[in-house]
Amino acid sequence: MSLAEKQSSSNDLSDTIEASEFYFARGWTDGLPVIPPTKDSVQAMLDSVGREAGEEVAFIANRQTRITAEKVAVNAVMAGCKPSYMPVVVAALEAISDPLWGYHGPATSTGGSAVFMLVNGPIARMLDINSGDNLFGPGWRANATIGRAVRLVMRNVINTLPGKLDRSTLGHPGKFTYCIAENEAESPWPPVHVERGFSPEQNAVTVFAALAPHQIYNQLSNTAEDVLTTMADNMRISSSVTRQPQYVVLVAGEHMQIIAGDGWSKTDIKRFLFAHTESSVAHLKRTKRISGEILPQDEKTMRPLVQTPEDIIIVAAGGRAGAFSAFIPGWGSKVTSQSVTKEIRQP
């Protein structure tokens, strides 16, 4: 279907300023101004993925909502994406429609998660997706607009409106955008998409229903074990603790050098963190995270933070300078939502 046969209704306005106000007035923005989607800009988005306007990109089963290529294109233009970003946006939407991600839970829950997106493969460097200094901050068009486009599709196409379908108690700034790349150029480890069965030359995006990033600090240590001991201590009581979601751990430059210098692999990191983030049932009961009377055996009965070491996703990313890394707790539990990786396809 060409744009001439488009499903989207159009409106004639005097200029971009009027158009911007028009979108605000209809509740079609995330609170920031949008780029008015015109026929040519929407068509350029469609051309970049070789999709027809009416073609289905994804289907959200429990919302009974078809996401068409044209609607993705319209929202991607509004977000400020370049056409070259569109394949990443499409792959991310395919991923959040996967039953394993389970759209209804993370998108609507009072728990208030965002769609964390990790881009791997050569496309991350081609599109200049930030994987280094200040990667969660402003300043990179790709990081800012790819995540924003996905959120605008959630809002405008899947009707995930704050206070209505999206019942987040608090939410967090990652709901504006939460898109980064792995620092594959400087990482000593296999990237996440390769761990998940893709080749290094393939492009992929991993989506993860995520709470906000938590920064950890260790400027005293020069061994992998010491750095990760601090990380584990920060992680141990985080998120909803007892529900066993997945976690992302971002290992930034200085810590990456120390940990890799000790010869530790990503698997070593996962195993260490898994072993050192468990809590005793007694502690969880004492701090009212589990109900019930504390029994003598509870002091020695340990509950892991996650189900398995593989539920800790290690990402090499962040600036070279500074003794900081971060962890990102997942929303809810692994039973209700899992991270999903999809190939980014280009025509």
């Binding site: 989207s8 005097s14 026929k39 078809r66 319209v74």
Partner: protein
């Protein structure tokens, strides 16, 4: 007056599908109630309490509690088929 820019609507609407309510029995007297636990904390306790009230005050005879796989998905076929075969009415839709 000529206009300078034509812009597109970014929204869509869900696919419409016909929904049909199950017929309601005139009375709960002698009926068996199915309870769908959505896995939220205490949802089973709340449902069993409701079931007990229905037994004591409305003549319900028997309850069957079954648990969904998680709160974010519809009840799966296995429990739907069992509840459908065993029960006359069902209670679901427990929030936080």
């Amino acid at each position: 007056m000529s206009k300078g820019i034509t812009v597109f609507d970014p929204t869509t609407t869900p696919k419409e599908q016909p929904l049909r309510y199950a017929s309601r029995p005139a009375t709960l007297q002698g009926r068996k109630v199915g309870l769908v636990d959505n896995t939220k904390i205490n949802s089973d306790k709340l449902l069993l309490k409701i079931g007990k009230i229905l037994e004591e005050q409305h003549g319900v005879q028997g309850m069957l509690l079954r648990r969904k796989r998680n709160s974010g998905v519809p009840a799966h076929d296995e429990i739907l088929n069992e509840l459908g075969a065993e029960c006359d009415v069902m209670i679901a839709g427990v929030g936080d």
